[in-house]
Amino acid sequence: METIDTNLSKTQETESSEIHHSHEEEHHGNFWTKYIFSYDHKTIAKQYLISGIFWAIIGGSMSVIFRLQLGFPDADLTFLKPLFGRWITEAGKLDQEFYLALVTMHGTIMVFFVLTAGLSGTFSNFLIPLQIGARDMASGFMNMLSYWFFFAASVVMFASLFIETGPASGSWVAYPPLSALPQAMSGSGLGMTLWLVSMALFIVSTLLGGINYITTVVNLRTKGMSFSKLPLTIWAFFLTAIIGLLSFPVLLSAALLLIFDRSFGTSFYLSDIYIGGEALMNTGGSPILYQHLFWFLGHPEVYIVLLPALGITSEVIATNSRKPIFGYTAMILSMLGIAFLSFIVWAHHMFVTGMNPFLGSVFMFLTLIIAVPSAVKTFNYLTTLWRGNLVFTPAMLFSIGLVSLFVSGGLTGIILGNAALDIQLHDTYFVVAHFHLVMGAASFFGMLAGVYHWFPKMFGRMINEKLGYVHFWMTFVGIYAVFFPMHYVGIAGFPRRYYTWTNFDTFNIFTDLNMFISAAAIITVSAQFIFVFNFFYSIFFGRKAPKNPWKSNTLEWTTPINLGHGNWVGPIPTVYRWPYDYSKTGAKEDFIPQTVPYSETPESNTKRENELAKQEDTFYKK
C-alpha cells in the first residue's frame, strides 16, 4: 500500500472538473434546484437519509403491531380502529390477512427502503466523493434521477398501504403462485401489482445509483488516491454497487415474468392449479424457477445491506481505537471473497423445496465457505480494538455493537447453511432470529454508527452524545432481548409468518417468552425516537462542530465545516498515504491525515517510506 500511485492519469479529469466547478459555485440556483432536484451528492445523501428514517419509523411501528398480536393474543386492539379501520375485526383482533400484510410490508420496507436505500443511498452518496477527493458524483443528473426514482417507488409502496384490498401480503419474497393469483389472497390483487411496480422503480433507482458509485470511484479519485489508499468504506461501497449492479437486474426479470403471469396469461411460474373452484389452464411452469431468480438477488442483497455497514464500522473502529485497522489487505480480500461467493450460495434458501439433493450438497459447501472471510473480518476487528486507545463516541459504541451482532447472527448461519440441519429449522423462528441479528440489526447499527460519526460533516453541528449513549444501550440490550429468545422458539419448531400458534399443541407454549419479546420490541422501537429527536433537534440546535472532531485521517475532514457544492474551496488536496496512520510509531500526534506527505514526517517513516518521500517531488508536482 505504500507504493506510489500508478494511475495518476486518472487525476486529469479531476483537474478539469475543478475549473468547471469553481464557476458553478457562484450560481446556487433557487430552492427547487438546491433542495429538491439537487445534483449535489451531499443533498441527495440527506434526502436518502431522511427518507430512510421515515421508512424506518413506519417499518418499525409495523413490527410493534404484529408483535402485539404475537405477544398479547388476547389484547383488545379496538383502540387501533381509527387508524386501521376494518383491518381490526369487531372483536378487537387483528385481521388474519392484515397480519400477513404487515409482516410483508415490514420486511420489504426494512430490507429495501431502509437498509438498501437508506444506508447505501445515504453513505455511498455522501462519502464517495468526499473520501476519494472528488467535487461530486460522476453524473449529478443520474444521481438526482436515482433519488427520484426511489421517491416514486416510495410513493407507490406507501399508496399501496391505503387501498381497499390491502397491500401485498405474500411475504417479502413474494413466492408465486400465492403472489400471482388474486384468488389466493386479497393482497395478491392490486396490492401486489403496486408492490411490483414499486420494486421495478426501486431497481431502476438502485442501478442508476450503482453505476454512478462505480464510475465515480474508478474515475474521479484525487491525485495520489490509488485503490490501495482507499478507505475501507469506499471499498465496501464500491463492491456493494458492483454486487447490486449484477444482481438487481435478475430480480427485475423475476418480477417481469411474474407480471406476465399475473396479467398476460403466461405460465412461467404456474402449473396444475385448482383454486377458487376452477382448474386454471396454466401448465408447465415452475414456482421453483421464481425462487432461483429471486434468491439470485436475495442472497447478494444480504451483503448489499451488510457490506456498507461493515465498511463504516472499519472506519469508525480504526478512528476511535486510534489504531490502524488490522489487516487492511485482508479486509479487502475478504470483502472481495464475500462479494464473489455471495453469488453462488443462493440455493441455501431452497434446501427443502424439492430441489435435487446433490445441488443441496454443493450449495451447502459453498455456503459454509463464506463463513471463512466473515470470520477473518471479525478477528481483524477484534485485533484492531486490542491494545488500542478506545474512545467511546456513540458511533464507536454502535460499531462495537455491530461486531457483536454480526458474530451472534453469523454463527447460527453455520447451522442453517447445513442442509441436514436446515430441514428442521427452515422457516422457523430460528431463521427469524438469525437474519434479524446478522442482517437487520447489524446493518441498522452500521447505519446509526455512520449517522453519529458523520453528522458533524453533514450538518455542521454536533449530535448530542449523551442521548446517543442512552440510545445505544437501550437499542443494544433491546435488540438482544428481542431476537435472542427467538432462537429457543425456533428450536422448538415455531413456524414463522404465523398469526397465532395456539392451534397446535406442539406450539402452545412459550406464551411468557413471546410476551417478553413483544415488550422488549416495544421498548426498543420506542428508544429510536430518542434518536429521531436528537437527530432533528441537533440539525438546528446542536453545538457547532469543529473541523475534524474525531481527529480522523480521511479526506472529508479537510473540507470546510459548512461545505458548499464542490466540497473543497480551492484545489482538491493530494493524497500521500493510506488512511490509517493512527498512533504511528515515532509520530508526534496520534494521527496523520492522508494529505500529509511522507517528506514532512521523517520521524515516523519506515525505510521504504523515506524512499517514497524522496520520489514525492517527481510524482506529485508536475
Binding site: 485482508a330 450438497s361 478477528f379 486507545n389 457483536s404 429468545p485
Partner: protein, 341 residues
Amino acid sequence: MIILIAIAIVLVLGILFGVIYRILTLTDIAQKRQVGEQDIDISNNVNALLFGLLFFIGFGAFGWYSITTTDMYILPVASEHGVRTDGLFWFTMAIITTALVLVHIVLFFSPLMFRYQKNRRAHWFPHDNKMELIWTIIPAIVLAGLVVRGWFIWDDITQPAPKERVEVEVMGRQFSWQVRYGGKDGEIGRYDFRKIDAINSMGMDFKNDPKNLDDFTPREIHIPKGKPVLLKIRARDVLHSVFLPHFRVKMDAVPGMPTSFWFTPTKTTKEMRQETGNEKFNYELACTEICGSGHFAMRMIVVVDEPEDYKKWYAEQTPWVEMNADYMKETYPDLRLANNY
C-alpha cells in the same frame, strides 16, 4: 380525539426531550468541555464498564434460561434420521457457543482494558500475515469438518426410499391437508388437477386409473412404528410445506411438481405420551410455507401405531369411492373388471 391525544403526547415528549437536551449541552459547556474533545471523561469509563457488565448479565441469562427450560425448547425426537440431525445440531451448537463466548470476552473486555488514557498510545500493529493465516485456516478446518458430517447425513436422508415402505400421499390446499392411502393394493392411484371438484377434492382420476377405486382418505395420518414411511407430497393451489416437527421432517408442497420425503418413525404416539408425561400428546403436521390467511391453521394429527395396530386400522378403512358411488361410473367397466374391482 385519538389524533389529538397523539399530538399532545408527541408535544409533551418533544418538550421534555428539548429540556433534557439543553441541560446536557449546558453541563458540557459549564465543564468547559470542547466540542468533540476526546478527553477521558466519566462517560468513557461508564461505557467501558457497561460492556463488561453486559457480558456477565447477557451470558448469565443465556446460560440460566438454556439450562432451566430444556424441556420446553427441546422437542423429543421420534425418527431415525432425526436422532442424527439432532446430534449434529447440538455438536455445531457447542462449537458456535464456544466461539460466541470467546469472541465476546475479547470484544466486551477490550473496552475496559484499553479505554482511552491521555498518556497512553495505541500499539502500532497494522498487519501480521501469520496471524491472518492462522485464523483463516482454523475456521476453514472446523467448517470443513461440519460440512463433511452434514454431507453424510444429508446424503442418507435424501436417498431413494427403501422398497419395503408405507406410502402416504399428502396434499396441501388452502387451508388444510388431505391424505390418501393406496388401499388394498397398496398403490395410490393417479390424479389430475382437472378432475378436482367440490367432492373429489384430490382430483382422483377414476377414468384412467382404476387403482383409485380402493384408495381411502382418512382425517388423520396413521403410520407404523419402525417402518420406512414415504410421503408423496403435492399442492393443489399455492405453495405449502409439510412440517412434522417431532420427526424432523420438512418438505415443500409445490403445485405442478410432486415432492417426497421418507423417514422411519421410532416411537408410537402411546410411547410418546409416556415419555412426555402428557396424556393428550399428539404428533402434529403443520404448514411452514406462507399460503394465505389460514396458513397458521393447517393442522393435522399424526398417529404412530404399533405395526399390528396399524394393519388393523388400515383394514378398517372404507375406500373413498364407496362413499361417493357416482365417481365409480367414471371408470370404464372393462378396466374395473380387469383389476378385480
